[in-house]
């Protein structure tokens, strides 16, 4: 179990857990791993996903409506870890479900589930004292977001607090697919490299092989989220895992 990237770039995918249901999320993750995904971000659905665009908003709404809970997502992580010992697994959540469970209890459970790391969308480095302490205790990697608007001083703090990799946001705005990789992205990655030797994964707006190739020229991994969540939305549930596997296999073609 490790957060390692094998291709150039590595592939990270985001899944909204529980959409269309938990068993299918698990099957999709397995298919993704078997087709060259280095790291799975298991997204905990939240009622108020204010950093997300319409695709992930809809998926979250469906998953919340089905009653998907943080504990269910932890259970999926446990299954994935048992089935694929070498895959990278990140728990990806808005802060509130974690706060409700309790930070220390959450980190304990995440470690027991075999997760490698955690990304909390609305947790900034300045507020992360207790979080970082619990993560350290449980040898989990905290992954922070870095934005094109983050000044150097913030990038330095983000680089220092992160483990595993840093998630660079390619452009301003919410999640969702775009025509091309944003021009904000290469300068951000270059600025980040001044402050960290960790791999840098680039996300937001990356949806096809052409984007992935472009990302490979300056970053270490590409994060694909909305494109996959959208594919799952459009595919009959029983075919979703195969469709996502095929999609990922095509990303490095």
């Amino acid at each position: 179990m490790a957060l390692e990237f094998h291709g150039k770039p590595g592939i990270v995918i985001y899944l909204t857990a529980g959409d269309p249901d938990l068993a299918i999320t698990r099957d999709i993750a397995l298919a993704a791993i078997d087709n060259g995904t280095d790291v799975i971000e298991l997204g905990v659905p939240f009622s108020d996903p204010l950093a997300d665009g319409p695709v992930i908003q809809r998926a979250s709404e469906r998953a919340v409506a089905r009653g998907t809970r943080l504990t269910d997502v932890l259970a999926i992580a446990t299954e994935l870890r048992a089935a694929r010992p070498n895959a990278g697994i990140i728990l990806f959540s808005y802060l509130n479900p974690v706060v409700r469970m309790g930070m220390e209890k959450f980190c304990t459970a995440a470690a027991e589930a075999g997760a490698d790391g955690v990304l909390l969308t609305d947790m900034i480095v300045e507020e992360a004292g207790e979080y970082l302490e619990s993560m350290r205790t449980h040898q989990l990697a905290p992954v922070f977001l870095a934005a094109p608007t983050s000044p150097d001083a913030r990038l330095k703090a983000i680089g220092e607090a992160s483990r595993g990799f840093v998630y660079a946001i390619s452009r301003l705005g919410i999640t969702g697919t775009r025509q091309q990789v944003a021009s904000d992205a290469p300068p951000l990655v270059a600025r980040l490299r001044q402050f960290t030797t960790l791999p840098i994964a680039l996300g937001f707006g990356i949806s096809n092989a052409e984007h992935v190739k472009a990302v490979g020229e300056f970053a270490d991994a590409a994060v694909i989220g909305s494109a996959i969540v959208s594919l799952i939305e459009k595919t009959p549930p029983e075919e979703a895992a195969a469709a996502v596997g095929k999609f990922i296999a095509g990303l490095r073609a």
């Binding site: 939240f46 009622s47 108020d48 996903p49 204010l50 950093a51 665009g53 908003q57 709404e61 919340v64 809970r69 943080l70 504990t71 808005y94 802060l95 509130n96 479900p97 974690v98 706060v99 409700r100 469970m101 309790g102 930070m103 969308t121 609305d122 947790m123 900034i124 300045e126 507020e127 992360a128 004292g129 207790e130 922070f144 977001l145 870095a146 934005a147 094109p148 608007t149 983050s150 000044p151 913030r154 983000i158 946001i169 301003l172 705005g173 919410i174």
Partner: protein
């Protein structure tokens, strides 16, 4: 009075700005951090600049109509047979509610920062109208996010915003109310952060908003404290204000915080029942909120045991929100302020009572505070003073009132013979 302290599950970092006890802070996507830091610095600079304050005070006086009267509601007081009830008449302000105090302050700040594009959320529409007004006054572009359910029930304010030149964008997600409008405004802000100023309308959100909004609303209690001493020669025994996000309440409470003999009472939207989803009473003991993070701040949040934010209900769009300003969370835990709630039905009754005893039609939000005052006054001595912050006027609610109270309009005009 509640003295029970909830042990907050989120342990705040020491020395991070914008804390109210354990509450407040900054919990936002990283993209917004630079903007929040820029805002914090610009606000500190503006505060230290006497010219900014002079401009704001001048407009509050000549444009908005400050100071607002502190009015002794003699007939209502006599009818209830207890404390002397005074109304702080924020409803008389330009645009019809306290919201203009904050919108004007932030509008001037946005102009000072060189931001040409303004966005805001609105629930009842009063903050949207106030923001659209200030944008017209200052020549700024204005986009308002409003839940579609709120657009339906506060339609008058939608017309007003559009007349003022604002673009009103309906939000259909979630329960299509204030919380969803804030989500959408934040999505806009995170996308257009470089040229856009977000005028948040209540004492909510990430630092510096709760502090800044409170500072712009403090003028309510600054005036009221002087006025009541002039008129009664003493401080009120209690101050009552409604609490949605809590900006009118914190504004009405703030200058009295150190007067420990002045009781501070916030009134939440009790809706139509005590079960989760039926009300907006975050501080309700059972079926109420728990500490959590929503829309950038740590405060009480109505949520289920998995941390999903609950839907809410209140007849009053301005109180219909799942969380509450973090300073109120602190005042609640410390016991300095107490929080109660008022049902939809009682708010409607209070609206009728104030209309017919004093000739003042309160906003449904403010009617929640009137209702609590009507309950309290008879239990107090006749020499006691009870102050209510009448945060807004009720014109915007006329559609709801006509329906709920079965008021007849043109269809039932009696034929008057001369």
């Amino acid at each position: 009075m509640s003295t029970a302290t909830v042990n907050p599950p989120l342990n705040p970092v020491q020395g991070v700005p914008g804390r109210f006890g354990a509450y407040g802070g900054r919990y936002v996507p990283e993209t917004l951090m630079a903007a929040l830091e820029e805002l914090e610095a610009a606000y500190a600079e503006a505060q230290a600049d006497p010219e900014f304050q002079t401009t704001l005070d001048g407009l509050l006086h000549h444009y908005c109509g400050r100071p607002t009267p502190l009015y002794f509601a003699k007939r209502l007081s006599e009818q209830l047979g207890g404390a002397k009830i005074y109304l702080k008449r924020e409803d008389l302000l330009h645009t019809g509610a306290h919201k203009i105090n904050n919108a004007l302050g932030q509008g001037l700040l946005a102009r000072r920062m060189g931001k040409q594009r303004i966005i805001a959320e609105t629930g009842a529409g009063q903050h949207g109208v106030a923001t659209a007004t200030v944008c017209a006054l200052l020549g700024l572009e204005c986009v308002i996010y409003m839940g579609e359910e709120d657009m339906r029930r506060q339609e008058l304010n939608v017309y007003r915003m559009r007349l003022l030149g604002a673009e009103v964008r309906g939000v259909s997600g979630g329960s299509a109310t204030l919380k969803d409008a804030i989500n959408e405004a934040m999505r806009d802000w995170v996308t257009n952060v470089r040229n856009t100023y977000y005028v948040l309308g209540s004492a909510l959100g990430s630092h510096p908003y709760p502090t800044m909004v409170r500072d712009f609303q403090r003028v309510i209690s600054r005036e009221a404290r002087i006025q009541i001493l002039e008129q009664e020669g003493k401080l009120p025994a209690a101050i009552v204000a409604c609490v949605g996000g809590g900006s009118n309440a914190i504004g009405a409470f703030y200058e009295f915080l150190s007067d420990s003999n002045v009781q501070l009472i916030g009134v939440e939207g009790g809706g139509r029942g005590t079960a989760l989803g039926e009300h907006a009473a975050r501080f309700q003991k059972i079926g109420g909120g728990l500490p959590g993070v929503l829309q950038g701040t740590y405060s009480y949040v109505l949520q289920n045991d998995a941390g999903q934010v609950s839907s809410t209900h209140s007849v009053s769009a301005g109180l219909d929100y799942a969380s509450v300003g973090p300073e109120h969370a602190m005042l609640h835990d410390s016991g300095r302020a107490t929080y109660t709630s008022c049902s939809d039905t009682d708010a409607l009754k209070a609206t009728v009572a104030l209309s017919r005893t004093e000739g003042i039609i309160p906003a449904l939000e403010s009617a929640h505070a009137i209702s609590e005052a009507m309950r309290l006054a008879p239990t107090m001595a006749k020499t006691d003073v009870l102050m209510v912050n009448l945060s807004g006027r009720g014109d915007k609610d006329i559609g709801i009132l006509a329906r709920e109270l079965d008021l007849k309009g043109a269809e039932a005009s009696p034929i008057v013979s001369i």
